[in-house]
């Protein structure tokens, strides 16, 4: 090797060692700067993906559209009647809410965010959202969505990294590193729920493990051997860790396997990760974000 090559190799090694000793806050600053620089491209690529996926959607036939239109008209008429009743109910409900000081009793302070990019990192299941440092978002805050029509909330994941004033990366529940202490609803016996390593897997022991490539099932491990668990049971967060509060819906038991030492279960996630659009970050109680009060205080029923 020539002296010149050796000299450059030496410089390279020295610089590499110097870079590898960067402190977390230095890395954070560098990443924030880069993300700010790349943000237009990230947003544009997200919009392009949305446009491309909408083009790929199957176009319905005329008869299908006509059927849908008829069904929609029937539904509209039914809803008109319902709305008249609901006006009264809503009025009563608002009065009751005021009376109970519902706002103050609600345990959660929520920040509404929108998913701006669904592309995952190479080895991690992630999404990018449009709230960041300026919205007081910080790592390890839980991210949820309302769970269907009920008052409960389903866990999406947690903020992994705040990468800009208006963007953060969320590590999804389907990732192996997003671990949640979980329990079967109605029991106190707990296990650890997480996804699989990498975006997909084909564990030969469980052919039913994956519902789809984008929505893999989850694994609930380390449950006591004698735990009462059966397919259809609802799994919720136990709330014993520092990251996630209790009673967030995680999924439904698909299959339970009793082992020699413990019980494991395959869980179908409560969240459709393919369709995530608007999600909520659970902000610390002392955070005063600027979102409308109604959005911030989406209620999660603590004891169902």
């Amino acid at each position: 090797m020539s002296r010149l090559n050796l000299f450059f190799l030496l410089i390279f090694v020295v610089l590499l060692i110097w870079i590898s000793f960067f402190q977390a806050d230095q890395v954070d600053r560098l990443q924030k700067g880069t993300q700010t620089l790349f943000r237009p491209f990230i947003s544009a690529s997200g919009e392009l993906s949305e446009a491309a996926s909408s083009l790929q959607e199957e176009k319905p036939s005329y008869s299908q559209l006509q059927g849908d239109l008829d069904a929609a008209k029937r539904e509209r008429d039914r809803l008109r009647l319902l709305v008249q009743d609901l006006d009264d109910v809503t009025h009563d409900n608002n009065e009751l809410r005021k009376a109970l000081l519902y706002k103050n009793r609600s345990p959660l302070n929520l920040l509404a965010t929108r998913v701006i990019n669904r592309k995952s990192m190479t080895w991690y299941n992630t999404i990018t959202i449009d709230k960041g440092a300026e919205d007081l978002v910080r790592p390890d805050l839980a991210v949820i969505v309302p769970n269907g029509d009920s008052d409960s909330a389903a866990l999406v994941g947690k903020v992994s990294e705040v990468v800009g004033p208006h963007s953060s990366i969320v590590l999804l529940l389907t990732d192996e590193m997003c671990q949640v202490s979980a329990k079967v609803e109605g029991t106190e016996e707990q296990g650890i729920l997480n996804g699989e390593r990498g975006p997909v897997s084909s564990d030969p022991t469980l052919s039913l493990r994956y519902a789809s490539r984008s929505n893999p099932n989850l694994n609930l491990r380390y449950l006591p051997k004698g735990v009462q668990i059966k397919p259809g049971d609802r799994i919720v967060s136990a709330g014993i860790g520092e990251v996630f509060i209790g009673d967030l819906v995680l999924g439904i038991v698909k299959q339970a396997n009793r082992g020699v030492i413990d019980t494991e279960a395959v869980i179908v996630p409560a969240v459709d990760f393919d369709r995530l659009k608007d999600v909520f970050i659970i902000m610390p109680d002392d955070t005063d974000n600027n979102e409308p009060a109604e959005q911030r205080r989406l209620s999660v029923k603590a004891n169902r």
Partner: protein, 196 residues
């Protein structure tokens, strides 16, 4: 010099373009790693010191953009975790850049078969090393069939991209009058195919 700067510019441009590279869900969530492909293809055509500079620049920007902190785990009390140390991609690019430099004589002779294949192989090796380090940190080696398909498909996309990149680089070399030198390996390969 003009050639080296041109290639550096292409490497920098590949970063914003990488944002538009789609995830192929039908191909086991593999993706086109454009930056990796451009770097490995560039490493075939430049001298060792320039390759190291490219590795440093490309690896550093990649880390700034894609380095992933995990945060706290519920199951363990720990500080914010970095599974792959910051700067790991620089190391990967440096190591594999040295590896792929061995096929420079083939590129110079216009025999692109092996360089094209090596771009894919280096992409595969890079991903494999990353995954092994992640697995080491997590304390368990789990290699499913889908995992192998994912990295093989990613490597395949890089291989498919490589001829176009090498063609682009050779055109730029012609335009700028750049001659690929074989310093460091000329003693072992005294015949470089240009004497006939």
């Amino acid at each position: 010099m003009v050639y080296w700067i041109s290639i550096l510019f292409i490497i920098l441009v590949s970063f914003p373009l990488q944002e538009f590279a789609p995830d192929f869900t039908w191909a086991y969530h593999s993706k086109v790693l454009l930056v990796h492909s451009v770097f490995f293809a560039a490493a075939v055509s430049v001298p060792f010191p320039v390759m190291l500079i490219y590795a440093l620049v490309a690896g550093f920007i990649w880390e700034c953009r894609y380095h992933m902190p995990i945060g706290n785990l519920e199951t363990a009390v720990s500080a914010t975790q970095f599974e792959l140390p910051f700067g790991f991609t620089i190391l990967i690019f440096g190591l594999l850049g040295v590896f792929i430099q061995g096929v420079r004589p083939f590129f110079r002779q216009g025999r692109w078969g092996l360089p094209v294949l090596m771009v894919g192989v280096c992409t595969l090796l890079g991903l494999l090393i990353e995954y092994l380090v992640i697995s080491f940190n997590r304390g368990g080696l789990f290699m499913s069939t889908d995992f192998w398909f994912k990295i093989l498909m990613t490597a395949l996309f890089s291989t498919l991209l490589a001829p176009f990149l090498l063609l682009l680089f050779s055109r730029i070399a012609n335009l700028t009058g750049y001659q690929i030198s074989l310093e460091g390996i000329t003693r072992r390969y005294s015949y470089d195919g240009n004497d006939i």
